[in-house]
Amino acid sequence: MPLTRRGFLAGALALPALSTVAACAGTVVQPGDLSRLRMMVPASPGGGWDTTARTLQRVIQQTGIARNVQVFNVEGAGGTIGIGQLAREDDDALLMMMGLVMVGAIDTNDSTTRLDDVTPIAQLIAETELIVVPADSPYDTLEDFVAGWAADPRGTPIAGGSAGGTDQILAGLLAQAAGIDPIEVNYIAYSGGGESLAALLGSQVAAGISGTADYGPQVQSGDLKGIAVSTAERSNQVPDVPTIIESGFDVEVTNWRGLMARPGMSDGARDDLIALVTDAHDTDEWAEALDANGWLDTFQTGDEYGEFLAEEETRVRQVLTEIGLIQG
C-alpha cells in the first residue's frame, strides 16, 4: 500500500518537530547531570523570551557547557501557564525563561502559582525601553511631550505591547512621575512591536513605547523620533536619545529577563544550575550575543535575584493597581 506509506512519510517528517514538543513529557536525567538540559519558554516562538532562550541555548551548546539543550514553548496567559507547569515538575535539569511581563501577568491573570513558589536561578539580561513619537509629531523632547500629555491625557493615545506588559507599566510609571492620573492614560495595546510600529509610522497615535530592538532602526533612519530611553544610562543602540531621568522624571524601568527552576529543589541542585548559567554568562560568545542584540548585562543569581524579584513584584502591583488593571 503506497498510500499509507506516504501517510507515514508525512508523519515521519513532522516527527522531529513533534518529538521536541512532546519531550517536555519527561526526560530521564540522573541527579546532578546537566549535560542534557531543557529550557521552557512560556510564550510563543519568535518573541523576546524565545529569542533569549534560543540565544542561551546556542551559547551553551557551542561552548560545550552542556551537550544537549532543548528549548520548548508552553504558550499562554502571559507565561502563567508555563509557571504553573514548572511548579508541578520534578526535573532538576529544567530552566524556565521569564521576565518582567510575567510579574504583571501573575497578578492580572490571578495565577495560583506565584514567583516565590518556584526557585530563582539568575537574571540574565535587560532590554532598554524606548519612547518614540511619529516623525511629524510637534514634540521633540520628553518634556515637551509630557506637557502636551498632561494637558489632554485622553487625547494623547500611546501605543505599546500587550495590556499589563512592560510598555504599559512604563507608561503608568511615567504618568505618576509627571503628575498625571495613571487611570487617565489612553494606552492602546497592540499584540506586538510590529503592529504598533505600523500605527506610529502612519501617525495614528501620539507616541509609542517598546524595546529598542523594535523601534531603534526606525529612530536611526529618521522615520520616528526617539524622545527617551527607560534605563539609567543611554543605550548604545540609540546613543542620541536621552534617558527619562536626564529629562527630569525619576523613572527607571528595564525589561529584564531571567531564569527560574522547579520548586523544592535541593541547594546542591540549585547551585549546579547557577554554576552552569554563570559559566555560560562568562563566555565570549555570550558577550557577543549581548552586543549583537543590544542587551544590557544585568547578571545576578540566586538569593540576590530573589530579592530583586520581590521588589519588582511590589512596584509592578502598585502601578498596575493605579492603572486599574488589577483591583485593590
Binding site: P2, L3, R6, G7, A10, G11, L13, A14, P16, A17, L18, V21, A22, C24, A25, P45, G46, G47, D50, T51, R54, R58, Q61, Q62, N73, V74, E75, G76, A77, T80, I81, N109, S111, R154, G155, P157, S162, A163, G164, N186, I188, A189, S191, G192, G194, E195, L197, A198, A199, L201, G202, Q204, G216, P217, Q218, Q220, S221, A292, N293, L325
Partner: protein, 522 residues
C-alpha cells in the same frame, strides 16, 4: 535594477546544496501544514539552531520552503478530509471537500496546487518589483480601515449561511461568542474563561475548525454507519479537465488580487481575503448551482488568495523590518542570528541576502508544484480507505495536532467538546462555516473598532474619516442592500428552477447540513 538584483539572487540561490535545502523545506512545510496545530512558525523556530551551521542563503531558502509549503499543505487535508491545517485554508474546505466527496478530489487538489503556484509566483514578483511603493500605502491603513474591512468580510458571510438564514446567523453568533473567550486585548481582562488558565489566550481557530469540521463529521458518519450502506466515493478523472482550467484561471487571478494587498497590510492577515474571494467567486460564477456542492471556483479563488497573502507578508518584513505574522517574526530572528539588524535599511545593507531569499521563494514555489501535482493521484486514494478506518485516522490526526501545540490534555477536552457541538450542528442542520468565520472575524472587528474609538477618544466619526474606510463601508452597504433593493424594484419571483433548487437544498441540509446556497440566488 530590481530585475538584475533578482537575477543575482537566483545565482546565489541555485546551487545543488541549496536546491536540496529547498526540497527539504517544502517537504517539511507540507508535512506541518497538513498536521493541524503545528504550523510553519513552530517548525521554523525548532529549526533555528540550523542557522548556526548553515550558510545564510541555505537556511533562508529552507525557511522560505517551509513557509510556502505550510500554506500549501493546509489545503490538502481541507479538501480531502475536511480538516483545515491552517486557518487560511478553512474556506478551501467548503467547496473542496464537497468536490472530493463527489469524486472530483484530484481536480480540487490540482486547482489548489496550480492556483497556489500562480498566486505565489505573481505575488512574489510583485514583492520583488513594487514592495517599497506599496508599503507606503499600506502603512497608512488605520485601525478604522481594518474595522471597515472586517465589516465587508461580515457581508461576505452571507454567502455561506446555508439555505436557512436563521440557522446560519445563529451559527455566526455562536462563532462570535467563542471569539470572545480569552483575554481582552485592550484592557487585559479575561472574558468567559471560567477561571481556566488555558482559555485565557482564547480558543485556537484551528482547533475550533478541526473540531467543528472534522471531529463533528467523524462523529456524524459514525452515527450513521449502521443505517444503510455507506456510499463508496467514486473517483472520476485524474486531473483537471480543460473545462476546470477555464473555470479556474480567473479565480486564481482574482484571489491573488485579494490576497497580496491584505498580506502587505500590517494587520491584514490571510483569512479575510479568502472570505472575500469565496464570496466574490460565488457572485461571479456562471455555475451558481454548484456552490455548496463542490464548485471549483470556490477552491481556486481562496487558495490563490491565501498564498498571495503569504508573499505579501514579506513586503513589510523586508522593506520596514516589521514582521506581521508569526513565521515572518521567526524568519526575522533568523536574520538576527546572522548578525543582520532588520529594519528599514535591510534591503540596502543586506541586498544580496534579501534577493536570494526572494529568489528562493520562486524556487520553493515551483518545487511545491512539481512535488504536489504527481502526488495528487496518491492523495485522493486516501478516500478509498474504508470509512471506519478513515475517520478513526482523522480523529487520531486531529487529536495529535491539537495536543502537540502545548502537550496539554485540556486541549483534547476542548477539541472533543467542540466536536460534539459540531456533531449536533450537523445533525440538526446548522451550517458550521459561519461559526468558524465568526470566530475569526469577531475579534478582528472588535479589537479594531475599540482601538479606533480609543485613539479618537470615543468620537464615532473616526470610522468614516478616511477615503479607504468610506469606500469599503460603501461596498459593504451595496453588497448588503443591493440585492434586496433590486428584488423589490423588479418584484421578481423565483423561477421554478430556483424553487426546486431551494427544496433540494433543504433536503440536503436535513441530510447532511454543511454549507448551502443562500444569498447569491438573486
Amino acid at each position: 535594477m530590481a530585475i538584475s538584483d533578482l537575477l543575482g539572487g537566483f545565482a546565489d540561490a541555485i546551487t545543488p546544496v541549496n536546491l536540496l535545502f529547498a526540497l527539504l523545506g517544502v517537504l517539511l512545510g507540507t508535512a506541518v501544514g497538513v498536521l493541524p496545530g503545528i504550523g510553519p512558525a513552530m517548525t521554523v523556530a525548532l529549526l533555528l539552531p540550523a542557522t548556526y551551521v548553515l550558510e545564510p542563503t541555505s537556511a533562508l531558502i529552507m525557511f522560505a520552503g517551509i513557509y510556502y509549503g505550510g500554506m500549501y499543505g493546509g489545503s490538502t487535508t481541507s479538501i480531502l478530509l475536511n480538516t483545515p491545517g491552517e486557518s487560511a485554508s478553512i474556506m478551501t474546505a467548503l467547496e473542496g471537500n464537497k468536490m472530493a466527496k463527489a469524486g472530483r478530489g484530484s481536480a480540487a487538489l490540482a486547482t489548489a496546487a496550480i492556483g497556489s503556484f500562480v498566486a505565489g509566483t505573481i505575488a512574489t514578483l510583485l514583492l520583488a518589483l513594487v514592495a517599497p511603493t506599496l508599503v507606503e500605502v499600506a502603512i497608512n491603513v488605520t485601525t478604522a480601515d481594518y474595522f471597515a474591512l472586517a465589516v465587508l468580510a461580515f457581508v461576505a458571510v452571507a454567502s455561506v449561511l446555508g439555505s436557512s438564514p436563521l440557522r446560519g446567523l445563529a451559527a455566526l453568533c455562536l462563532g462570535l461568542y467563542l471569539g470572545l473567550v480569552g483575554t481582552d486585548v485592550l484592557s487585559g481582562q479575561e472574558r468567559f474563561t471560567l477561571g481556566i488558565p488555558q482559555l485565557s489566550d482564547g480558543i485556537d481557530v484551528v482547533v475550533v475548525a478541526v473540531a467543528l469540521f472534522a471531529v463533528g463529521e467523524a462523529l456524524y458518519v459514525a452515527s450513521r454507519l449502521r443505517k444503510g450502506s455507506v456510499q463508496v466515493i467514486d473517483h472520476k478523472g485524474s486531473w483537471m479537465t480543460r473545462e476546470d482550467l477555464r473555470r479556474s484561471w480567473k479565480p486564481w487571478l482574482r484571489g491573488t488580487a485579494f490576497g497580496f494587498p491584505f498580506g502587505v497590510m500590517p494587520a491584514g492577515g490571510a483569512e479575510i481575503p479568502t472570505f472575500l474571494s469565496y464570496a466574490t467567486e460565488k457572485k461571479l460564477t456562471k455555475h451558481p448551482e454548484e456552490f455548496g456542492h463542490g464548485a471549483i471556483e470556490g477552491v481556486a479563488g481562496p487558495e490563490a488568495a491565501n498564498n498571495a497573502s503569504a508573499a505579501g507578508v514579506l513586503v513589510p518584513l523586508l522593506t520596514l523590518g516589521i514582521p506581521t505574522s508569526a513565521t515572518a517574526a521567526i524568519i526575522l530572528a533568523a536574520f538576527q542570528g546572522y548578525g543582520i539588524q532588520p529594519g528599514p535599511t535591510l534591503l540596502t545593507t543586506e541586498g544580496p541576502l534579501v534577493w536570494a531569499l526572494i529568489a528562493s521563494l520562486f524556487i520553493g514555489n515551483a518545487m511545491l508544484l512539481v512535488l504536489n501535482l504527481p502526488l495528487v493521484g496518491l492523495w485522493v486514494k486516501l478516500l478509498r480507505i474504508p470509512r471506519p478506518y478513515l475517520y478513526a485516522g482523522i480523529l487520531t490526526f486531529a487529536s495529535l495536532g491539537s495536543f502537540a501545540v502545548n502537550a496539554d490534555p485540556l486541549d483534547l477536552v476542548i477539541l472533543l467538546a467542540l466536536g460534539l457541538l459540531g456533531f449536533a450542528m450537523r445533525r440538526f442542520g446548522w451550517p458550521v462555516a459561519p461559526a468558524v468565520i465568526g470566530l475569526i472575524l469577531g475579534p478582528i472587528a472588535e479589537t479594531n473598532l475599540r482601538r479606533a474609538l480609543a485613539i479618537s477618544d470615543g468620537d464615532l466619526s473616526v470610522l468614516v474619516d478616511s477615503w479607504f474606510s468610506r469606500v469599503v463601508l460603501g461596498l459593504a452597504l451595496l453588497a448588503l442592500v443591493g440585492p434586496v433593493v433590486l428584488r423589490a424594484v423588479r418584484g421578481r419571483r423565483p423561477t421554478p428552477a430556483e424553487v426546486q433548487r431551494e427544496q433540494e437544498e433543504d433536503r440536503e441540509v436535513q441530510r447532511a447540513a454543511g454549507t448551502g446556497d443562500w444569498g447569491a440566488s438573486s
